[in-house]
């Protein structure tokens, strides 16, 4: 037993030091590509750290969204940076960049100071010892409609957090779409290997997403993990040169994107009308309502992540040029 504990301590210390080292290397690397790769490695080690903390739900989300999809997004952004000439422009006219920076330096710094002060206050005002809320969650688990405490917290007890997260994702996509007119078609490399891999993996990824969504009721899993797997399927399809058919790019795509947030809002209104309180489900129907909510959320998360990877807004007018 002693040897096992010692081994676990060694592993944990190495993991912690590795995380710190990777974070520092990723931030300070002058080579952007190297920084991104280090960030992905950081995400994978972070997932391991969550496993060591007995939080498999967060580990799954970290591996899927933190390392996998964020890594893919960063790599896609890096590929676009190389084609855009802004870097060279700034290098050729350094005085222009400097002037802008100097006038803009004060306000972000002031804002950061205010945020840091607020965070410091929040941390210092915490009670010195707290038992946490896990016993209360356990006590109320029967009324939540699911047996996985994490899902009970995310969808029932603190459902509004998840609702706000859905809106954050939607806002992020709207931000990306408003920056760039239409999706750039990068030259795809549809080799036979990538095509076969996509054909084999896409149905399997959809199946895994459905499984994660379903299993979330009583084991680690849920909307965000399932959504990230669905998003990964989308990224794979986009990489192999597939594009959304033009008749789906307009209304159906947008409806899927807002389905999650919209159904959340509908559920808020419904629960306010029935129970009189925000997202408080009637206990008998809680399980089925949450599954419904999570299904819509999974679809929206998956499609949003894939759309973020694509970058610009898919257009239905000039689609013939792109295909």
């Amino acid at each position: 037993m002693e040897a096992v504990t010692l081994l676990q301590w060694t592993f944990d210390i190495l993991l912690g030091l590795g995380l710190l080292w990777l974070a520092w290397q990723a931030l300070t690397s002058p080579d952007l590509f190297k920084g991104i790769v280090l960030f992905i490695a950081f995400g994978l080690l972070m997932a391991l750290a969550w496993v060591r903390l007995d939080a498999p739900d967060i580990a799954l989300a970290e591996a899927g969204i933190g390392a996998g999809l964020t890594g893919a997004l960063l790599l896609a952004a890096f590929a676009k940076l190389r084609t855009v000439k802004t870097n060279r422009d700034i290098a050729e006219h350094p005085e222009k960049g400097k002037l802008k920076n100097r006038s803009l330096q004060f306000w972000p710094a002031a804002l950061l100071l205010v945020v840091a002060a607020g965070l410091g206050y929040a941390v210092l005002s915490l009670p010195p010892y707290a038992t946490g809320l896990s016993s209360e969650v356990d006590a109320n688990l029967n009324a939540s409609g699911v047996s996985n405490p994490v899902t009970a917290v995310l969808l029932n007890f603190r459902g509004y957090d998840t609702m706000l997260e859905m809106f954050v994702l939607l806002l992020a996509l709207l931000g990306v779409w408003s920056l760039e007119g239409s999706a750039l078609t990068r030259e795809a490399l549809p080799g036979p290997v990538l095509n076969t891999l996509t054909r084999v993996l896409t149905p399997m990824l959809i199946l895994v997403a459905a499984y994660l969504l379903w299993v979330g009721a009583h084991a680690p899993g849920g909307a965000f993990q399932a959504g990230s797997v669905l998003g990964a399927a989308g990224v794979l399809l986009l990489l192999s040169g597939w594009r959304l058919p033009s008749n789906l790019a307009a209304m159906p795509l947008r409806l899927t994107l807002v389905a999650g947030p919209a159904i959340f809002v509908a559920m808020v209104v419904l629960t306010m009308l029935i129970e009189g309180r925000l997202l408080e489900y009637p206990p008998e129907q809680a399980g089925i309502l949450m599954l419904f909510l999570e299904t819509a959320a999974t679809l929206s998360i998956g499609v949003t992540l894939a759309a973020l990877f694509l970058g610009g807004r898919p257009q239905n007018k000039n689609n013939k040029e792109h295909t």
């Binding site: 490399l189 080799g191 290997v193 990538l194 076969t196 891999l197 084999v200 993996l201 399997m204």
Partner: protein, 99 residues
Amino acid sequence: MNPNDTLSTALLIAGAIFFLAGTVGLLRFPDVYTRLHAITKADNVGLGLVVMGLAVQAETWAEAGKLLLIWCLVLLAGASVSHLIARGALTRGIKLWRR
């Protein structure tokens, strides 16, 4: 220590040796193609041994099946991705290493 434990310990250690060899190959080999060779061989065989070592400890057949499925997916992804990396390196004109 019952025979099951002995078997899975032996398999896990053998798997770890393959991972170590793959890592050393990744760090020490001269170019991208030889490094790919080292890392994919280590991943495939090393992970296979680890999966077998863990499957011996599995309590149900479903658990062992899931482990096997993970290994198959890694085999598929590893082989495909290393092919894609090698092809990308070739199209970018990275020369093969010659002694």
